[in-house]
Symmetry: C2
Subunit: 441 residues, 2 copies
Amino acid sequence: MKPVQVGLIGFGTVGSGVVRLLTEQRELLSQRLGSDLVLKKVADLDLDRPRPVTLEPERLTTRADDILGDPDIDIVVELMGGLDEARQVVLAAISRGKHVVTANKALLAHHGNELLAAAQEQGVEVAFEAAVCGGIPIILALRQGLAANRIQELFGILNGTANYILTQMSERNTTFAQALAEAQEAGYAEADPTLDVEGIDTAHKLAILMSLAYGARLDLDSIAVEGISRLDPLDLQFAREFGYSLKLLAITRDDGYRVEARVHPTLIPRDHMLANVTGAMNAVYLTGDAVGPILLYGQGAGMMPTASAVVSDILDLARNLSLGVKRRVPPLGCEAALNSTRLIKPLNDLVTNYYFRFAALDRPGVLSQVSGILGKNGISIAAVIQKGREVKGAVPIVMITHEAREADARQAMREIDELPVISPPTIFYRIEDPHLHAAQI
Amino acid sequence: MKPVQVGLIGFGTVGSGVVRLLTEQRELLSQRLGSDLVLKKVADLDLDRPRPVTLEPERLTTRADDILGDPDIDIVVELMGGLDEARQVVLAAISRGKHVVTANKALLAHHGNELLAAAQEQGVEVAFEAAVCGGIPIILALRQGLAANRIQELFGILNGTANYILTQMSERNTTFAQALAEAQEAGYAEADPTLDVEGIDTAHKLAILMSLAYGARLDLDSIAVEGISRLDPLDLQFAREFGYSLKLLAITRDDGYRVEARVHPTLIPRDHMLANVTGAMNAVYLTGDAVGPILLYGQGAGMMPTASAVVSDILDLARNLSLGVKRRVPPLGCEAALNSTRLIKPLNDLVTNYYFRFAALDRPGVLSQVSGILGKNGISIAAVIQKGREVKGAVPIVMITHEAREADARQAMREIDELPVISPPTIFYRIEDPHLHAAQI
């Protein structure tokens, strides 16, 4: 059978992993594929940088056009990162009838609808297993393995940097700043960690997962996003006292009418499978109406795990090329997805359990004033901890609530923060605890 | 596009789930597929039994031949269970050029090579996602998602009944007999639990996973199997004192030359992801050379989870039928698998850590005699617990060893059991603890 030819644009960390797999595992891959897979050309602006793999100079180029314009190349792998240039490169590849593999979640979250529509028109594929959770085959699971299911809810720990920092803060009781500095030293966080710690990268990935779960257009802007950079280790301790872990979660849930779309620090029971996902690991926990709960767990980043996903996509496209078929499974699981949208539930309409930490000045009647305001706003209390330790002259009161509407919780917070006996701002986090929903005390 | 027509043989629990999905999710499935999926006929010997779904009488038959002989039916779903008749039905379907979906792990483990060879010859597919771990897409992951990897090791909790019993024994300190009785009452164990509790069902599934992981023929007979029916709750307690959980694991590991193939109760660290897989849940934890560690977790059995896997297979075959392609991915991941074997490491050559429990009569010098024999056989001790509680006139001494050869461990046990100060038989379990490998005390 005619060998399938691959061109790679972006010879950085993940690119080096892909080159390593395509060269060192070439025999294994051709056994699995039944024909040969050839890495024809690799483009990168900087060819002098030291890399963990070497390639013959004749396979290297500084010009992406050498790949885009090569009629022998069937599959273009975009690993250059960034937005505008990557978008141009992917559109150029599509317009020339080439299939595309990318690990670029920001590109997909921002320009995915445009790119996928262009691919649909040209009858080519855009594959992106590596864009979410590195080597964990979550895209494959949603597109194919769980295709008989309606996805009812999905929780993801989708950013290894944020999870590493939270794990350090929780296990070693350090501040965010200390944990971030250590993560940077250990190579788990970049010099500018904004995308990771502010939940933006997690939102990019959630947008992709939601499209697949619901068979609908990408909709990054509708996701409510809150990061972990203002997290106080005190709240991690209190969370633990209530039996919870605090994780940066991507959450979506389908009530049949609207879907939730949110990224924020979340308290989850310590015996939940996701609570045991520590360090830089990633995981997705989802519930399908037929399959029930499913967890997929693994390394969400890194050279070889991400390369593993890229090469599995290359193999998948190569199988189609060998058989002369195209778009056997549409990128978002069904062809109609790009014409389909889901109504998003505004955050104010969310109904969930809350964790509040009030800083109470040490005067009589504080608890009754606070709980009075909560009650007036329809919020009932499931558990309280009030401890003697003073923080900046105030005593923390921590409450776990029964289910309440977000708008009511925010209104109550505003009123409480105006009390003379409270030192604002009140801290609040959302809780995902199926057992608490039903509880009454 | 021409609708794809499905015939189902076996209208039991899982069959009812498949009927439910194919009827109730018909719109979702046809959206995903891009063409219609029709359940044309369902065969079962007993049509009068009450079922959770109903079908028009004209779609029901008591004769499998009505399905096998129907030229309109493209895909035959075998859910009748059992070995000989199921083998005949699958062979008949293959010989008539029909694709087959089955959830029958015993059939695959015993007759898989024959069935897959017949399918290869006829150019049809045999799909079996539902045969291992219910709705967890582990077959898909091994065949496609992780195809760029060599699988280095794989640990599975593959039988929900056994895991449920172990969880009950561990959490509630009950005997095996009590936990089994409760599992039977709760519907988690069958009247004859032999296949589940003796590790046989787990071995069937391990044989399938090994074939996929290594791209080799099925080889059930080479798997060493030990069940949980003789487990003493005392050992679950001691395991916990050493920081371990005891699980019935399927284990395979590739040293590049030979592969391990074993099913037995195994001690794993309590902070291992698999230790948190409780109740009737299943999970597979594997390491690929590129992707690193991966865990897939979910319900391993039950009507709808298993039906979810069956229908994902039907969809996959239907996509190929719609496009006019066959065997896009061979059933075992590569066409050469059926001509390929892996050398199995005999259990006696295994090198691992051991847990020993000796029943020592209360006389001086017992510990020195026991550790002398261990030392003579090249086995060094990593940790010991000796406690005053008497069991049948003897005091338990529990030891955790450094890595030792299985043959040496067995020889030492034989010698120790002949000591007058020991009341045989000594209990031993294998440990999988990556941290212990390197430890020295």
